[in-house]
């Protein structure tokens, strides 16, 4: 323990601290010299250095940073979260170069985005319940303004407000849960809570209530049904880069906060796994059905995030229930893949939204399925990458989403538990159902007759196509060689099972 001290050579300090400290600088760079986008890119680029070093140091164990008695520890789970936040963040900064150019709030966009990345990395490393809450709130605060980015748009304000109020209610529930835990265990340290909570002398029922408060409180951010109602509004109204971040990273961060908090109460009851699986099934079905009849592309993608959260919950629930790390590793794999695929889907849809509407000065019109018509002729890259994203999300091979779903399914069947088997089949049937709304996207972009919007569409900049191509390539490579990320997801799965005492 003596080595865990505050020192400038601690890589974790740089990984989390760099974006946070640099965020104000990015703001000034943008405000004074109109260089915000490049400053942001530079900062995130630099953050990759500590990330790579940290990734090597973590290996299958963990590294720690102690600041004034507050410990941050990076294990496999934190690494997964940092990896996806940083990857998607980098691409979103490149992508946003044009997307938010000349917008009123451009100078505030980049610092918020940079801070968001640092905060999410920090959230993954929290070892203390209160600390977790602070990171969680910081994440929420930096994303509120990003969601309500178009301040002259009533719909954007509406989405931001709903997001704010619901998140705040969730955070109050988390605080109440914390109060219960504090009252009964006298500590906020997750490991100490776990030690006390497991003892027979500790009263179980209030702690159970605290667990429920955590599940619901963090569940608002993780978009568990029925707390999901903010999500479609926020994801569809935010600038597309932020939609990608929200869907690909922020709701997953909420999920990881939930897992961390609930893991400390693992000794209280055995039903956490069942609860997670239950929410998983509910999320899958509700998300797919709600997405089925959507005509607005971004709103449909937002609803489909619910169902993908369901797959992750299913895998995590299986892992927690039987104490088997393979299912959790599958879920973390799916978390990464969903970040890539949904990120790509939002960015590609956003690219079309930008060239068809925003660039012509129209901030109101949503991108509908029929607007996609014939996009392939004029924007072949966007059409192809959007199709890859949609098919990957639908679980078709050879894309990454298929492999992670398969891993969850195999792990589920390996338990040889009939109920879990049935849940897995239910999940597979849900994938088939989801094809019913993903496939028409592909059909639409490859029509011959261009839609009216496409005929009027403007040219696409390479800064927007580049992130799309990179994400699409990553999705295909991971689909063909799924064990490429095993070094990342394997330790995360093990860490989760260990956290739940398996």
């Amino acid at each position: 323990m003596s080595t865990e001290q505050f020192a400038l050579d601690n890589v974790l300090l740089w990984l989390i601290g760099l974006p946070l400290v640099a965020a104000p600088l990015v703001y000034f760079a943008g405000r004074l010299f109109n260089l915000g986008r490049w400053a942001a890119l530079g900062v995130i680029g630099l953050t990759w250095i500590p990330f790579v070093i940290a990734a090597q140091q973590v290996g299958t164990g963990s590294i720690s940073l102690v600041v004034e008695g507050m410990t941050l520890r990076m294990d496999g789970i934190s690494l997964v979260l940092a990896a996806i936040a940083l990857s998607l963040g980098t691409l979103v900064v490149v992508y946003s170069n044009r997307y938010v150019a000349h917008e009123e709030n451009e100078d505030k966009y980049y610092p918020m985005l940079v801070a968001l990345i640092g905060v999410i990395t920090g959230l993954g490393c929290a070892t203390d319940l209160f600390n977790l809450w602070v990171w969680f709130e910081a994440m929420a605060i930096s994303s509120y303004l990003l969601v309500a980015f178009y301040r002259d748009q009533p719909a954007s304000l509406e989405a931001g407000l709903k997001y704010l109020v619901q998140s705040a209610v969730g955070s109050v529930l988390v605080l109440l849960g914390m109060a219960l835990v504090l009252a009964l265990t006298g500590t906020m340290n997750l490991a100490e809570i776990r030690a006390v909570a497991g003892q027979p002398a500790t009263p179980g029922l209030p702690l159970l209530a605290a667990g429920a408060l955590f599940v619901i409180g963090f569940g608002v951010k993780a978009a568990l049904v029925p707390m999901h109602t903010w999500l479609p509004d926020a994801h569809s109204q935010a600038p597309s880069g932020i939609s990608a971040m929200l869907s690909g990273v922020v709701i997953e961060a909420g999920l990881i906060a939930l897992l961390r908090a609930v893991a400390s109460l693992a000794g209280v009851t055995l039903s956490w796994g069942v609860l997670l699986m239950g929410f998983g099934a509910l999320n899958m079905l509700a998300g797919n059905l709600l997405a089925l009849r959507q005509k607005h592309v971004k709103r449909m993608l937002a609803f489909s995030s619910l169902s993908h959260m369901g797959y992750m919950l299913l895998g995590l629930g299986i892992a927690v229930y039987v104490g088997q790390s393979a299912a959790a590793a599958g879920s973390f794999f799916h978390l990464i893949n969903h970040g890539l695929m949904k990120g790509l889907a939002f960015l590609a849809a956003g690219a079309l939204l930008y060239v068809l509407f925003i660039k012509t000065g129209d901030h109101h019109s949503p991108l509908t399925i029929s607007d996609l018509g014939g996009a392939a002729r004029k924007y072949p890259i966007v059409a192809l990458t959007l199709s890859i994203a949609a098919l990957g999300l639908g679980g078709l091979p050879p894309f990454a989403g298929f492999m992670s779903k398969w891993q969850i399914f195999v792990a589920g069947f390996e338990t040889q538990n009939i109920v879990i088997d049935l849940l897995v089949i239910f999940a597979a049937l849900n994938s088939v159902l989801s094809l019913a709304y993903y496939a028409p996207i592909v059909n639409a972009v490859y029509r011959q007759e261009p839609s009216e919007a496409v005929t009027r569409g403007q040219a696409l900049s390479w800064t927007m196509s580049l992130p799309l191509i990179l994400l699409a390539v990553a999705i295909v490579i991971l689909g063909l060689w799924p064990s490429l990320l095993a070094w990342l997801t394997g330790p995360a799965g093990t860490a989760l099972v260990k956290a739940f005492g398996g």
Binding site: F130, V134, E137, A138, A140, I141, Y144, L145, A148, R151, D152, P154, A155, L157, E158, A159, G160, L161, K162, L164, V165, A168, V169, V172, L175, L176, M178, A179, L180, V181, L182, A183, L184, T185, G186, T187, M188, P232, D233, S236, Q237
Partner: protein
């Protein structure tokens, strides 16, 4: 009645009022006020929890931190509400329900 019991009653009262306000209020400012009442309930709960576990210092320091963080949230909420009033000329949440289905 011990201090703790009073505090618990206070917490439940504040939470109840806050939730009730959130569920029925139609004015955006009232919604944000109700949210603040809810947060105050949580603050009291934290202090009370510190008292109950004999770690009053911990509870109080947490509460101070929560106040700081939550002020930021309240400010953002009010700023958004201000924008809503300015752009749409209304604060009724019924008018803020264009995004649905």
């Amino acid at each position: 009645m011990t201090t703790l019991q009073i505090a618990v009653i206070g917490v439940l009262g504040l939470i109840g009022i806050g939730l009730y306000g959130l569920l029925i209020a139609r004015n955006l400012i009232k919604v944000i006020v109700a949210l603040q009442v809810l947060v105050k309930g949580a603050l009291l709960a934290l202090v009370a929890a510190g008292l109950a576990s004999g770690k009053l210092n911990l509870g109080q320091s947490l509460a101070v931190m929560v106040i700081v963080v939550d002020t930021v949230v309240a400010v953002i909420g009010l700023a958004l509400a201000l924008q809503v009033k300015r752009r749409m000329g209304t604060l009724d949440i019924k008018d803020l329900s264009t995004l649905k289905k």
